[in-house]
């Protein structure tokens, strides 16, 4: 992306962060047991959630933290957010921080959204005056102005998500720590989040994103960090981090790195050089011109490129595959052409699944969100596609005559 993060000041500096959790074999959680068995509580296993994690994040950077469930990435985020305390090491940050471990946390269902927004603003580190001043813009962003005095328990879940997201956007912190927030909503919500995050980046804000969604990491983060079993395994290029994550996930423990084993672990390793839709947006009924160029980093044996077109709700509308015999490392693959366009007006996304030897049952390894585009036109309809329907409506004459 050509983002020269090195020249920007460091806003998050972590050095040697460690964290262990004690997991008692026999949990003593009453005073009575503590009194009756004063020495019973001494046995516990120690789970080392984080070992010696050090990294820097620069101002205006979008930094991904990826890793499997239980790898320690959420623990790290919670230490950065002052929810947990680290056992050793230190973290320093510059500027006001807004952690979003979960959307809408701390909302009180018995209060109106007006009261909740002010409360949440204060929780984000604003003072009461500032929080009240931001109230209007939050309600406007959420498009909930008419419902400002309605208690939150009467909100629909969609309204709740909108409000929570608006609070997050308008908190306007220097550093945002976000944990899997994109996973709660539908695809259009995720898209809205990403649009907003991009605007934040332009305003010089820093974002740390913990996620499972490698497509987001690849298309969105400047750099990323891979954590596995509490250890920092990789830090740097976002695509490389995502790739290593895939390898870890599909290969099982211990297979990270190293050369691909023939016939064993599938190893797809490509980079998106270019992906575009002709004219960016497409008129309804006109064919979609697409051009994508991948670069193979390793030799690929019989790779399959599966293109999926998704609607705004994340539902696949249609797709097609293109396969090649063999691609050598360093070679580029160009997939381009015209596609019939049955799509109704709306927003669509293109994902590409790159797998090897689909017929032999290998897993799809590499999911890339390539593109998003809008189909515009004046003939909306139900669903996502328009098809030619050779169907006629007539009145059955003879039956109508017979009826008394």
């Amino acid at each position: 992306m050509g983002f020269d993060y090195d020249r920007r000041p460091v806003v998050i500096e972590a050095r040697g962060v460690q964290k262990s959790f004690r997991i008692p074999d026999h949990r003593v959680d009453t005073l009575k047991e503590r009194v009756l068995h004063p020495f019973a509580g001494g046995q516990y296993r120690e789970l080392r959630a984080l070992r010696d994690i050090s990294f820097d994040v620069h101002q205006g950077e979008f930094f991904g933290i990826v890793g499997r469930n239980g790898s320690g990435k959420s623990t790290l985020l919670k230490i950065m957010s002052s929810i947990y305390r680290s056992d050793a090491g230190r973290i320093r940050m510059a500027g006001r921080l807004a952690p979003f471990i979960e959307l809408g946390v701390g909302f009180n269902p018995d209060l109106s959204s007006r009261e909740n927004v002010v409360l949440n603003g204060v929780m984000m580190g604003l003072n009461r005056k500032e929080a009240r001043r931001r109230l209007d813009s939050v309600l406007d962003f959420a498009e909930l102005r008419e419902f400002a005095d309605l208690k939150l328990k009467n909100y629909s879940s969609g309204m709740m998500v909108r409000l929570a997201f608006a609070v997050m956007v308008e908190a306007d912190a220097d550093i945002m720590l976000v944990d899997e927030v994109l996973a709660v909503g539908d695809a259009s919500f995720a898209q809205k989040c990403l649009d907003v995050f991009r605007a934040k980046r332009r305003a010089g804000r820093t974002l740390v994103l913990v996620t499972h969604d490698m497509a987001t990491v690849q298309s969105f983060c400047d750099r990323a960090m891979l954590i596995h079993d509490g250890e920092l395994r990789y830090i740097g290029d976002a695509e490389e981090a995502a790739l290593r994550y895939f390898r870890l996930n599909f290969a099982g423990a211990g297979a990270e790195g190293g050369p691909p084993e023939p016939g064993g672990v599938p190893d797809v390793n490509v980079r998106v050089v270019e992906a575009r839709i002709e004219n960016e947006n497409v008129e309804q009924g006109k064919p979609i011109g697409i051009a994508v160029v991948f670069e193979a980093r390793h030799d690929l044996d019989a790779p399959v490129f599966a293109f999926h077109f998704l609607d705004a709700d994340g539902v696949t509308v249609f797709g097609f595959n293109r396969a090649l015999e063999r691609v050598a490392g360093g070679e580029r693959v160009r997939i381009a052409g015209q596609i019939d366009n049955p799509l109704l007006p709306g927003r669509y996304f293109v994902n590409c699944w790159i797998s090897r030897n689909r017929t032999q049952g290998d897993l799809a390894l590499h999911v890339v969100r390539l593109l998003d585009f809008v189909v515009y036109g004046t003939r909306p309809g139900p669903g996502s596609v328009a098809v030619e329907a050779d169907v006629e409506a007539t009145i059955e004459r003879d039956r109508a005559e017979r009826a008394p």
Partner: protein, 276 residues
């Protein structure tokens, strides 16, 4: 873009994020909670008043009809009402504080929230309730012909001491509950015992001597005794003889409870999120 200075992330604590933010949060939460319980229901305030008044009616009947406290103690009904309202505040605040942090689990585990604010907000909400109840108490006092006295102005001092003690107990219980889940049961029994061991139903001076001296050690006792003397009956005896240094014992217990609370809460606060 302005360059901001790097600052150490210190992890969760009792008042993380600064005094200012903690105070803002405290006020917002307590006011919201208070409004919710009173403005939400038409009879909200009446209900909260009904409880102490009902208890008052029952106890008054028992202790003036079955026992003869009505004759032995000046203005006994007024004393009983004042004491019930004061102790009711202590009991309500501490009992609700026990599980307060666990009830706010989502906030504690998922946001950067100053831990001490949670039990403090419970206490502050009870302070608002107490304020409203005291209006009624003083209406009764005036209606019973006890005129305004300059010593009424000393009541806020007693109330502040009561708030401090209540806060200390509330914070201790709230910090211990995530680790020791029987704290709630133990405290409900202990609070009831304390109700009888504190001069709520009776003034200390009508008790026989060894018992009187024992109960005078209760740090709440001087507060209730002084409230009686300053608000209702200026002729009532001083709670303790100031020349004997006996007053040092409840004062010391008071101080120890407060210091212990501060120590326990500071120790537990960083780890509370992990215990839940």
């Amino acid at each position: 873009m302005t360059v901001l200075e790097l600052q150490e992330v210190r992890g969760p604590s009792a008042l993380g994020g600064g005094w200012r933010r903690s105070l803002d949060l405290l006020l917002l939460i307590a006011v919201n909670e208070f409004r919710r319980s009173y403005l939400g229901t038409a009879l909200g305030y009446l209900w909260s008043l009904a409880r102490p008044l009902l208890l008052f009616a029952v106890l008054l009947t028992v202790f003036t009809q079955a026992f003869d406290l009505g004759e032995r103690v000046q203005q006994y009904p007024l004393l009983l009402l004042l004491n019930i309202v004061l102790f009711g505040f202590f009991q309500e605040a501490t009992t609700q504080a026990v599980s307060s942090i666990v009830n706010q689990e989502a906030i504690v585990r998922k946001t950067q929230f100053p831990r001490l604010v949670i039990p403090l907000a419970v206490v502050l909400t009870s302070v608002f309730n107490l304020g409203l109840n005291l209006v009624v108490v003083f209406a009764f006092i005036l209606a019973f012909g006890v005129g305004p006295m300059w010593t009424w102005l000393l009541l806020p001092v007693l109330l502040l001491a009561l708030f401090a003690f209540t806060t200390a107990v509330a914070a201790t219980l709230a910090a211990l509950f995530p680790r020791f889940r029987d704290t709630a049961i133990i405290w409900s029994v202990a609070a009831t015992a304390l109700f009888y061991a504190t001069p709520v139903l009776y003034p200390l001076d009508i008790l026989p001597d060894p018992l009187r001296e024992l109960l005078a050690l209760n740090p709440l006792a001087p507060l209730f005794e002084l409230a009686r003397k300053w608000v209702i009956d200026p002729d009532a005896p001083w709670p303790v003889a100031f020349d004997s240094l006996a007053w040092l014992v409840p004062a010391a217990i008071f101080a120890v409870v407060c210091l212990l609370a501060a120590w326990i809460f500071r120790r537990e606060a960083p780890r509370i999120a992990e215990e839940l």
